[in-house]
């Protein structure tokens, strides 16, 4: 098994598991639950290996005070990192407890049975319990990475359906989000942002400041950072509007409003070849591969995808208290340790004086405003020592200031050779960075990525993001086809000087790359007169990949036999060519108003060994619906004066009127490792929808989203 960074960094059993004298098992992990139900899956792994009832497992919310540091919760890594770590920790704890019981009961370990934490000697029927043997005591041993894990046949909980943790609290309103927190003496706060990212604060009308102060509000200003706090939330919302209107903002440079796809293909850039999933620096980009003269079909096409947003339903929020030289924060950040390091560097504080607790937030799907709102709250809290400050963004703040997923351009060309093989494959992706999380790095890198820091009187210099050089990293995630294609020419272009702050949204570059490559495969198949399913299967050796495609193709029916007026389409990928496999097939129509109407969808997923089938289904279906929304509806828009997508009317997302019948097929591999499941379905969904629209209308759209305007433009240029 590959090295598990969670275990390397946190090798001690006590970091993960504690047995209490009152009969519970407290499990800590460093990955955070953001609605993906990772804590439900991990709690079942612990209950399984420890042989205790699931109800005895208490999942402790992560904080930076103790418990394991597992870095960022991202990239579909949590089951492989936290899941395997907790599984091994639980197996280690079980072995330690059996050894202790063996001494206590005077029998060999192999004569002991465990039932819900009670250990019984078969021969003497004498027994003891986890709680008696270990209650409230440290283990003091490292995790045994060779600890014996239960084989598939012996598992009682893993792989069986179960209601997720917290669901009862959610449906009864008891589940407390950061936005819902309350403390004695707490004040509410709102940030007051400039009209657009390049504007700066000149001054604020003094009479208004005096009036606000007289009414009991606290206004916090540092450079262009502006916020207001007060006792009553609704009055603070109104005061923030008053303050915005009382502020004079510079009318300096404005947002570049040229066509974004032109900017993506003409701006300064760092270009590099990508080989075996890795970018290669300081190497010239090779010339395009040319198709053989006797090719059966040869094509080139450009695909485009607009900026899209995370679009959390709950605006970002943070709660902070400054006390003496310490700062305590409650946040829905996905990386509380990384936030702590960056904020400590920004504030010049020892990291140990910052205590950060994770609390639930609205689903984020990546790097949304969570970290920024926590920092906003911290800035206000430092101006109001001893007072808890709950700062929330407004809906408009969230839409206009979260870091977007960058617009992308994908240029593809390729051919079907005379022997039927795909050849001369070129795929170049042009994009801004997908990775602007506040990670530590060179001095100032982390702080400069915290939005509020950029508006301070003395801001950290904004450092242009270096290219992500990791395997299937940002722009080049799933750039490499899984299909058997000899020496594809793959190029990553990290484009500079684009108008918006961008960062990680579910799948990073994989959504756009998979949509483009899977759409291009369909175009090639059509040009060569071949069924797109067969073209894919002919170029895939991995039986698990083939099984996914076959599962959806057989259920949706032949692509060429859709009902009159409908189109069927298919898409497939293995996320990062290493995580879960997913195939999607859809059947849809385009109505008289050029709106895409989804009728039916079939999803097949293989994430290795399934721990929580309900959780896996939710990730596949939820990922499908979110990705369908990106594909059909979503584009962040702006003009020179700022973002024009400022609410749900100006940035519409999918609603209940366009949810198809969904059939989801889980392909379990009980003897295989877990593969992260949270992102696999998104790329294939985009491709399946685009391919189905092309078949339904006879016109192939190559610009997302598939709005009536874009579909009409595609029809006009066809």
């Amino acid at each position: 098994m590959a090295e598990n960074p969670s275990l390397t960094k946190n090798p001690q059993l006590d970091s993960w598991i504690a047995i209490t004298s009152d009969g519970t098992v407290r499990v800590r992990m460093g990955k955070v639950d953001i609605g993906q139900k990772i804590s439900s899956a991990v709690s079942r792994l612990a209950a399984e290996e420890l042989d205790v009832a699931p109800g005895r497992i208490v999942m402790i919310r992560p904080d930076t005070i103790d418990g394991p540091d597992e870095g960022m919760t991202s990239g579909s890594n949590s089951m492989e990192e936290s899941g395997n770590a907790v599984r091994l920790a639980s197996a280690t704890a079980r072995a330690v407890l059996l050894a202790k019981a063996s001494v206590a009961l005077g029998v060999e370990v192999d004569e002991l049975d465990i039932d819900d934490g009670t250990i019984t000697a078969r021969s003497t029927n004498s027994s003891t319990t986890y709680w008696d043997l270990q209650g409230d005591q440290a283990f003091g041993v490292p995790i045994d990475i060779a600890a014996r894990i239960k084989p598939a046949a012996a598992r009682k909980l893993v792989g069986k359906p179960a209601a997720p943790l917290d669901l009862e609290d959610i449906v009864t309103g008891r589940h407390v989000f950061v936005n819902d927190m309350s403390m004695e003496g707490m004040v509410h706060a709102r940030p007051v942002r400039p009209p657009h990212a390049l504007a700066r604060l000149e001054d604020v009308d003094d009479t208004v400041l005096k009036k606000l102060a007289g009414d009991g509000f606290t206004v916090v200003r540092d450079g262009s950072f502006l916020a207001v706090a007060g006792a009553d939330e609704f009055q603070v919302i109104k005061a923030a509007r008053v303050l915005f209107n009382a502020a004079r903002w510079t009318s300096g440079p404005k947002l570049d409003n040229r066509d974004i796809y032109e900017q993506l293909t003409t701006n300064a850039r760092m270009s590099m070849p990508v080989v075996d999933g890795l970018p290669v620096l300081d190497t010239p980009v090779p010339p395009p591969l040319t198709p053989p003269a006797d090719a059966k079909a040869s094509l080139s096409a450009r695909y485009e995808r607009a900026y899209i947003m995370h679009g959390s339903i709950g605006p970002s929020a943070g709660l902070a208290v400054a006390q003496g030289d310490t700062l305590e924060i409650w946040t829905h950040s996905q990386g509380i340790y990384l936030l702590r390091t960056s904020l400590a560097e920004l504030l010049g504080m020892p990291a140990g004086n910052l205590r950060i607790h994770h609390r639930p937030g609205s689903g984020c799907y990546g790097h949304n405003g969570a970290d920024d709102a926590a920092v906003d709250a911290a800035f206000v809290a430092r101006a109001m020592p001893g007072v808890p400050v709950l700062l929330k963004w407004t809906r408009e703040d969230e839409h206009a200031w979260e870091p977007y997923s960058p617009a992308m351009v994908m240029d593809l060309s390729g051919a079907i050779a005379s022997d039927g093989s795909i050849t001369a494959w070129n795929h170049e992706s042009h994009s801004d960075t997908h990775v602007m999380r506040p990670r530590p790095g060179v001095a100032g890198l982390g702080p400069s990525r915290l939005l509020p820091a950029r508006y301070l009187a003395n801001p950290p210099a904004v450092i242009p993001p270096p290219p992500n050089m990791t395997h299937h990293g940002g722009i080049h995630r799933n750039l490499e086809p899984l299909y058997r294609i000899a020496e594809p020419r793959l190029v990553k272009h990290l484009v500079r000087d684009l108008p918006h702050r961008t960062s990680a949204l579910r799948t990073l570059g994989a959504f756009a790359n998979v949509y483009a490559l899977e759409a291009f495969l369909d175009e090639l198949a059509e040009a060569a007169g071949e069924d797109p399913v067969q073209l894919r299967l002919r170029h895939l050796d991995d039986p698990r990949a083939r099984a996914c495609i076959e599962a959806v193709a057989s259920r949706i029916g032949p692509l060429s036999e859709a009902p009159e007026g409908y189109g069927r389409g298919i898409g497939f990928a293995q996320y990062k060519n290493a995580k879960a496999y997913a195939a999607v097939a859809v059947e849809l129509t385009v109505d008289g108003n050029d709106r895409v109407r989804l009728k039916r969808a079939v999803i097949a997923g293989d994430a290795g060994q399934i721990v929580d089938p309900m959780g896996f289904t939710a990730q596949l279906e939820g990922g499908f619906i979110q990705s369908a929304s990106w594909t059909i509806h979503e584009a962040v828009t702006h003009d020179p004066d700022g973002i024009t997508s400022r609410d749900w009317d100006s940035y519409p997302i999918i609603g209940f009127d366009n949810i198809p019948e969904i059939e989801t097929v889980l392909l379990d591999q009980p003897d295989e490792p877990f593969l992260g499941a949270g992102e696999a379905v998104c790329g294939p969904t985009g491709a399946a929808i685009v391919n189905a629209v092309a078949r339904a209308t006879g016109v192939r759209p190559r610009r997302l989203p598939l709005t009536p305007d874009n579909l009409r433009a595609a029809a006009l240029s066809a």
Binding site: Q36, A163, P315, S362, G363, G622
Partner: protein
Amino acid sequence: MPTLTLQVNGKARRVDAESDTPLLQVLRNQLGLTGAKLGCGLEQCGACAVLVDGQSRLSCVAAASEFEGKDIVTVEGLAQDGKLSKVQRAFIAETAAQCGYCTPGMVIAVTGLFRRSATPSDGEVRAALSDHLCRCGSHARILAAVDRLRREG
């Protein structure tokens, strides 16, 4: 500041609120009922829905004073004597939530729907949920919960 009397989850509650303070603000910050969520403050997302005289209504804009004399039920008030409502049980049975931020509004909308009809049509279901956004993509699971309730009658 004017004093209002609101009937919330079966109890008369006296609160002080400015005349323009939205009901949602009063519920969350004065009565400590944080089940209804602030999602947009623009009546665009549905996270703030509560039952008013049995019908689902958005609470993030309309002033609390408009609700005097009406029967307000929040998501906290649906369970009776510690027993979850049918709608809440259906949401659990179908795993109809991920992050859960939109869920109280969805539960309220579906509760209002079934107060009007035990067997709502597909069109009525879509109309009842048309004001409600979900970003996790739980729509299909929520519709499965609705189907379960229709089956159970």
